[in-house]
């Protein structure tokens, strides 16, 4: 799939299985037991993986936020629609084959990225099987049955004689009203009890001699368990053969980046910056900061105002953020000149102006540097003892974080009673979930409910996304207020 040596092998295999015109992806659901057998470009390789990673990271956030299953499903389906859409066979206007191919490719790339430690494997299996379950639940009934028929799921249908023997017990499992006799129609499948631990735990199956009698409506449990077990085994195997992959030096950094992003709980860069950025001026920054900035930027802003200075990484993190927020180069120079009020013009022009222009792509190699994402802030350039940059949720001592949160956001509605929940997610390492929760609390006045995140249940993955969403909310509130008038 990924290098020339392997490519040849895949082609041979493909030819063997070519018996006439064969549909490549007959089903929407996929157990991913066949790897992609075609060439891919490095761009496709990365894009498909990143798209899928967004969905998986949102699933992890949903767990961290204890979202009820129905909410998780809604949020995940919305994310899938955006990044990894999969339509039913009946969809005629879309190219389902390409959708399914991308779905398969993304899954297999992430396998490579996530097979490398026990922790990554465990989390990947959990997120992937949740994704599978969401899709299984939302699949067309007939297509799902066709998919199940195509698989050998190693279950035995319970025969009539046995159904008769355990009639009472099986009837008691029914969720239908008492009195209605449906046992004869209901189908049951016998599997080893260890394959349906969730149903055993909830006493939703009848057990005899180590076998679980599973009503057909609980079939999903068997299917999911099989999916999980297969994937776990496959990942362990991939981990064993992976060292050979390291030959391809183009892939290693991509894979590293993917797995690190997942560990930070943040998939990648947010790139919706262009949607709102009206120009802002240097004078406006202070007010916007107090209304719309996430904790990290509030902290940098306060430090800058207090110390009349910021160290290198702080300037970089804050400066790029302001640039994406809509501060033009002229306004940026003005802003920083004012902020560094202790410096002479000469010193400012010599030592700082160049760097500001550089970050706007006007000097040096003239690159248009993007603002740092949560992932970069969390993982790179760890702040030293006198630094102000970084992510406060991760880099502040718990007591300091609580004090700062109250000082910063109590005027936006955050109270001490909100802190335990926030600190719990911080302690579990879900920093972006904590940040998202603060967003929800401080924007509840604008109608944001718990679990909604920065819109559609999505979590904060970029400081600019936080600020931009906050400004949007304010704007729409002002608009509707005007309508009322």
């Amino acid at each position: 799939m990924f290098n020339t040596k392997d490519r040849k092998k895949f082609v041979e295999k493909q030819e063997q299985s070519h018996e006439g015109a064969q549909i490549q992806y007959p089903h929407r659901l996929n157990f991913y037991d066949k790897p992609p057998l075609y060439d891919v470009t490095i761009e496709e390789f990365e894009t498909c993986a990143l798209d899928r990673l967004r969905v998986l990271a949102e699933i992890e956030s949903s767990f961290a936020r204890n979202r009820p299953w129905d909410d998780l499903k809604t949020v995940t389906l919305a994310q899938c629609q955006k990044y990894v859409p999969l339509n039913n066979n009946t969809a005629v206007t879309v190219d389902v084959d390409t959708q399914r191919r991308n779905d398969q490719l993304g899954h297999f790339v992430l396998r490579l990225a996530f097979c490398r430690s026990e922790e990554l494997r465990r989390r990947f299996v959990k997120a992937e099987s949740t994704l599978f379950r969401v899709r299984y639940d939302s699949d067309d009934r007939r297509e799902r049955e066709a998919f199940l028929k195509s698989r050998d799921l190693d279950w035995i249908e319970v025969g009539d004689a046995e159904k008769k023997t355990y009639e009472k017990e099986l009837q008691a499992l029914e969720i239908r009203k008492a009195g209605e006799d449906h046992t004869n129609e209901e189908r049951y499948y016998k599997v080893k009890w260890t394959r349906v631990p969730d149903l055993v735990a909830k006493r939703r199956v009848f057990l005899r001699g180590g076998s679980a009698y599973v009503p057909s409506r609980e079939q999903a449990s068997i299917v999911l368990q099989t999916f999980e077990a297969n994937l776990t085994r496959a990942l362990e195997n991939t981990a064993k053969v992976l060292p050979r992959m390291d030959e391809d030096t183009r892939l290693v950094p991509i894979l590293n980046n993917l797995s690190q992003g997942f560990l930070a709980g943040v998939p990648s860069e947010w790139n919706g910056a262009s949607t709102t950025s009206d120009e802002i001026t240097a004078d406006m920054v202070d007010e916007i900061a107090k209304k719309h900035f996430p904790m990290c930027m509030r902290n940098l802003h306060e430090c800058l105002m207090r110390d009349r200075h910021l160290k290198h990484f702080g300037r970089l993190q804050y400066g790029l953020f302001l640039k994406v927020l809509g501060l033009s180069i002229e306004e940026a120079v003005m802003f920083w000149r004012k902020a560094f009020s202790g410096l002479t013009d000469d010193k400012f022009n010599k030592e700082y102006k160049y760097n500001i222009r550089h970050s706007y792509g006007l000097e040096g190699k003239r690159a248009n540097y993007p603002a740092k994402s949560c992932q970069q802030i969390l993982l790179t350039d760890k702040p030293g003892p006198s630094d102000c940059h970084g992510c406060p949720y991760r880099h502040f001592a718990p007591e300091n974080l609580q004090t700062s949160l109250l000082a910063t956001y109590s005027s936006h509605g955050l109270t001490t009673s909100d802190l335990p929940e926030i600190m719990k997610t911080v302690k579990e390492g879900h920093y972006h979930v904590a940040c998202t929760r603060v967003f929800e609390i401080t924007h509840s006045g604008g109608g944001v409910k718990k679990g909604e995140g920065i819109g559609g249940g999505e979590s904060v993955t970029h400081p600019n996304q936080y600020a931009s969403r906050s400004r949007e909310l304010e704007k729409s509130q002002q608009d509707s207020a005007m309508v009322v008038e």
């Binding site: 430690s117 026990e118 009472k168 017990e169 099986l170 008691a172 499992l173 969720i175 008492a178 009890w193 260890t194 631990p197 969730d198 055993v200 735990a201 909830k202 006493r203 939703r204 009848f206 057990l207 005899r208 001699g209 180590g210 076998s211």
Partner: protein, 414 residues
Amino acid sequence: MTSTDSDASPEAMLAFYRHLYPFKSIFNWLNHEHVPTRLFTHREFAFTLQHDVYLRYNSFNTYEDLKKQVCALNPTRFEIGPIYTARPRDKKSVRSAAFTPVKRELVFDIDMTDYDGTRTCCSAADICVRCWAFIAAAVKVLHTALVDQFGFKHILWVYSGRRGIHCWVSDSDAMDLTDEQRRAIVNSLTVIEGGKEMAKKVNVRIGNKALPPSLWPASNTLRLLFDPLILKDQDVFATESNWEILLQLVPDNTITEKLRDKWSNNPSRSSSDKWLDLKRTIHKTYDEGSVEYNRLQNALEDIVLQYTYPRLDAEVSKHRNHLLKAPFCVHPKTGRVCVPVDPLHVDDFNPVTVPTVSGLLREMDESTKNGEEGADWSKTSLQPYVDMLDRHTAEIMDGVRRSKRAAASSDQSW
């Protein structure tokens, strides 16, 4: 019990380990074969020394090595843990990823302290023959469930030396269970939930439906025990505070008002009388088959479970890497040996009369005085218990031999 019977002094313990502890039987039981396998060599042993020093991650090549170390350390007790991917004693030298628990007996722990509120004879750490009846009920219910529902065959019950009982399941299927599967078994067998402040501790129904079928056998067994044990022997509803708890479990104010009046005026009514009062009042108040009637019948069924169903210490069972005291250890407070208990005769077991270290050492002295060669458990009252373990192990080994033979013959067919 004489005062010296509870003696578990270091001297007594050392003599016990040297001469009486059945190391070889324990080895065979853990190892499933006569030649040491990973089931023994990669198995964790943990020692609790005098003054509560705790030594973890010990492992041994043979039972002689284990015995040598036990005699050298003279622990107050030792515990048995899981089989790891590497030898536990090499833990420091292997990568942590390469050191994970892979196999472990499925274990259960039932402790009498969790029965306070349903027994009146003793409280906290105490135990008498009368409260053993609760443990006996627990053994019957769990043993039946493990055999009939989960299909396990090799189940060993061991008295914990004081106020409870341990259960070890050695089937190879049980050894291989993941933590998730262990949790599933525990959840399916856990019926009593909620702390002291929770009146109704049985909540296993969906709405007002019948009990889930997996609890039917338990309910049938315990229904028969409720009358002799809870009503007659323990007379649980004698005091006002206790019959008030009973009334809280009856979800019908008409009924409870009537009964509260009646019982307050006749405080001397026995528990059996009160139970009868409750059943009769339900009969008189509601028509058989009506919704209210059915709901109250369900409540009665739940009350029986609440007062008799086994209380499991769930944490012990849920994780492969949990340690549990080895059979035949000595409880430091009582001096009693943790002997196996025959589940078929669990009613006849009396925790107060099990062999004690000092008693056994006395028996050993007697037999040496009588000029018998050597000195070990075969000349003491420990013998029937060691025999019981050996018989149990023989069945495990039989199973292993059979499945090896089956595997070999299916290999040949290729």
